[in-house]
Symmetry: C2
Subunit: 247 residues, 2 copies
């Protein structure tokens, strides 16, 4: 049975402030939890309903665990429709960014993306298209926000998300910086080369002026109709798809 | 000033039942409202804050209108962060589906898409890529749900959304039915032809068995990494992009 203090501890982790303080985040659903158990992440605690147990074969005795009821799960879940289990996962320390590691591959770079659903969908899409890292500006939504974790559908377990000063990073890395803008070369006709950052900007304002200036290639998804813009996760996906199609 | 009965009338329209009863839906923000004013839709009432007025040049005296305060807007808005105006727009009657109208073009078909954000993003993406219609199964989320309207960013004003029995429709239309599945031909190598339905399925279950059987072409977005699946709006976007790239 869940104690009152456990309930309030998990609920506190719905907020960024306490996730930072305890270096823990919430992952929900046995499917997603299994991905974290199989990854480099350290899973601290798993709260599971009896329904979830058959799906948690990767749950070893080394992980703290507690069987709870569906109604108890409801009290700690961050979801409107709670699934079958909830885990507390340790937030990895990712402070030492090795600039050399970005060479000879492509990395997605997010400059101020705000919506958790967009962020989660970008992580999931990056995982589909075989990327392993995403680098974000400090003002990009936190990857460990429960809505982001949910939208990644387990892909957060495989994609490393870094937060950094992007201007400094692109300068130090000295690799191409390819950005999605409204007035560049058609993505269908662009060559991507062999390495670089693929940069996507904020939902309302696009790329920050400093990053705009750092672009070495300006790429546009041609418009065939009348919408004013595309959703940022959609733009990211089309760029990733075109990159892989041509590689 | 807003009356109590106006407040409760607008709030009732947050629910599907009352939208159906009154044949009205809510569109928010002067930018989006302007798109509806410029479209075939009939805008019934516009509630605007003083800030919105300069952006509502298309608002004629024929439309019912009322200036309200930001705090009044908060009382009727369906958004967590209300914008500058809210309009009531008439839901068009779209019952007579002309099967012939689907020939010699491509139409997006949604089979049980449930998430309002996905639906809205698909409508916005369809508008970007120059589609004019989307046909949905009866169990697809309602296009006039405030969260859908919001996610379309005004594109709902240009995309006609129909609800129909899809099995009957594909049989009667007798044009190719191209579906996104996990075990088809690579989208990069597929030819789309000159007409057809582009079918996307439910977030969890994909296409319904009957529609699976009706497919004339099975298309897959190649996977380069480890994610189990793609978000449905992402899949739709990549199919639309590939279709336009090749046409």
């Amino acid at each position: 049975m869940l104690s009152k203090s456990q309930i309030s501890f998990v609920n506190a982790l719905h907020q960024k402030k306490y996730r930072k303080e305890h270096a823990l985040f919430i992952a929900e659903g046995s499917k997603s939890i299994t991905e974290f158990l199989a990854s480099d992440y350290s899973v601290d605690t798993v709260f599971y309903t009896p329904d979830a147990l058959p799906n948690l074969s990767k749950l070893s005795q080394k992980v703290k665990q507690l069987e709870i009821s569906a109604s108890e799960l409801k009290k700690i879940s961050a979801l409107q429709a709670p699934q079958d289990a909830l885990a507390l996962v340790r937030i990895p320390e990712r402070t030492n960014l090795n600039v050399e590691s970005f060479k000879k591959k492509f990395t997605i770079m997010l400059d101020g993306v705000q919506d958790p659903g967009n962020m989660g969908t970008i992580i999931r899409t990056a995982d589909w298209f075989g990327f392993s890292e995403i680098v974000c500006s400090q003002d990009t939504v936190e990857a460990y926000n429960p809505k982001v974790v949910q939208a990644t559908m387990g892909s957060l377990a495989r994609i490393k998300v870094y937060y950094a000063n992007l201007e400094e990073l692109v300068e130090q890395a000295a690799i191409p910086v390819l950005g999605a803008v409204l007035d560049g070369t058609s993505v269908y006709e662009s060559s991507f080369g062999k390495e670089g950052f693929i940069v996507l900007g904020n939902e309302g304002n696009g790329l920050s002026p400093t990053l705009q200036r750092a672009l070495t290639k300006r790429i546009t998804i041609p418009r065939f109709g009348k919408a004013e813009s595309l959703n940022v996760a959609i733009s990211a996906a089309i760029l990733c798809s075109e990159l892989r199609r041509k590689s």
